[in-house]
Assembly symmetry: C2
């Protein structure tokens, strides 16, 4: 299969509490996926401000800054999933109308029923894969150019090893500076930033499985525990050891 979704790190169906808001100064490193069923929110990024409306599916960027807030008198109600869309890259926010009786409507209804009843994560993952394939076939999502895709897959497979920008640029026979420029154009961030985010995301998923911090760091490709903890704190605003308790079902 060509596409596969990254692991889901959070999901649910909620009516957001009054004080709900999202502030991502550098992008969260995963994509938020919302199916808004009631209320709404204001989304703001470098491109401007946009009103999020019920009856639409939204995809929010992994690697760029944005903010969201809602009107507490008409709070955001949505089905949400946090997951990496690997190897697909989403630059800006995407909005899709969910037409009643069409594929997307049925698929989201199946997801909602699943979350409300059995809440099986492997099953939700397989439906998310279906959603991502559909989005990619309907040109909402696009694969990066082949050379960058090759590098992203290489990082996925070899993230535990020592990887340098030189190694990665040699993979596709490009000059280092040209490689960095192209990588940034396709993903929005530098190879170094990408690798760090990828490893931190892997570590966060391991921590949620109650793997000890030292082991999670090692398995994600961090050789130095101190630099891991620092990078983790910078990204998640919490110590790695406290992360499993911090995981909350909020959009």
């Amino acid at each position: 299969m060509l596409f596969d979704s990254g692991p889901i790190s959070s999901h649910g169906i909620v009516r957001c509490p009054e004080d709900w808001q999202v502030t991502e100064p550098h992008g969260p490193g995963y994509s938020r996926i919302y199916h808004i069923t009631g209320g709404g929110a204001i989304y703001r990024d470098a491109a401007g401000t946009h009103q999020l409306k019920p009856g639409h599916l939204y995809l929010f960027p992994e690697n760029s800054a944005y903010q969201m807030r809602h009107n507490p008198a008409d709070p955001l109600c949505c089905l949400y999933i946090h997951a990496s869309l690997f190897p697909l890259v989403l630059h800006g926010m995407q909005e899709l109308p969910v037409e009643p009786g069409h594929f997307l409507d049925h698929l989201l209804a199946a997801m909602a029923d699943l979350i409300r009843s059995s809440d099986s994560l492997p099953l939700l993952q397989s439906l998310l894969t279906a959603l991502i394939i559909w989005l990619s076939e309907n040109i909402v999502l696009q694969q990066p150019r082949p050379e960058i895709l090759q590098v992203l897959k290489y990082i996925q497979t070899n993230s535990r090893d020592t990887l340098t920008v030189s190694t990665l640029s040699q993979l596709v026979c490009w000059q280092k500076q040209y490689f960095i420029r192209q990588f940034r154009r396709e993903t929005g961030i530098t190879p170094h930033q990408y690798l760090l985010r990828y490893r931190l995301h892997q570590a966060s998923l391991l921590l949620l499985q109650n793997i000890p911090v030292t082991e999670a760091a090692r398995q994600s490709g961090f050789t130095d525990l101190k630099s891991f903890s620092k990078a983790f704190r910078t990204k998640y605003q919490i110590a790695p050891s406290r992360y499993p308790n911090y995981y909350r079902n909020i959009p």
Copy 2:
């Protein structure tokens, strides 16, 4: 992910022609999956006769004999998929009511919309994976006992190599005769029959991708082209070279 569906070899949404019937003297080697939307059919196997009804999902066994026919005045209308449920094994026919507004109803509606509109095979495959996970979580399908599962996965990975029943029984440290009995109890057929069917199924999928006969035979683990052709003809009642044209969208 724990489960994955085997490749889909045929699928569609049809109103069956008057002369439609199914005769499987030894089981087809894949599972038929029907969501009946109109008309009906009579199903017959060793256990007896059963009336197939609209509003139900049916799964038919891979490895045991059965027959189906319908009343031409009230012909069978259904969404159907032919696929292996690997590594899950289905002994008898299974019938499930499709309750309106529940998960199965939404998932089948998404499949139907997909088949009618884009007809994307990777997408249908991901939805089938979701269906199979759901069926396994709802105890309609069960995994074989761990030792047999290990052998089935070994066959999947190594089907191109020479595999003997002795090799397979040694994998799980069982006596050969005990192994054969256990294998048969879990899958309905002997290890030798299973391996042959698995290889023929692989070959048929390669042929559908327009891989030449010699190459398809070799890649599926057949060392002798003559015995491959003979086994293929016995199973599919057609020469391997003519199989790609023979592939028809019939349930």
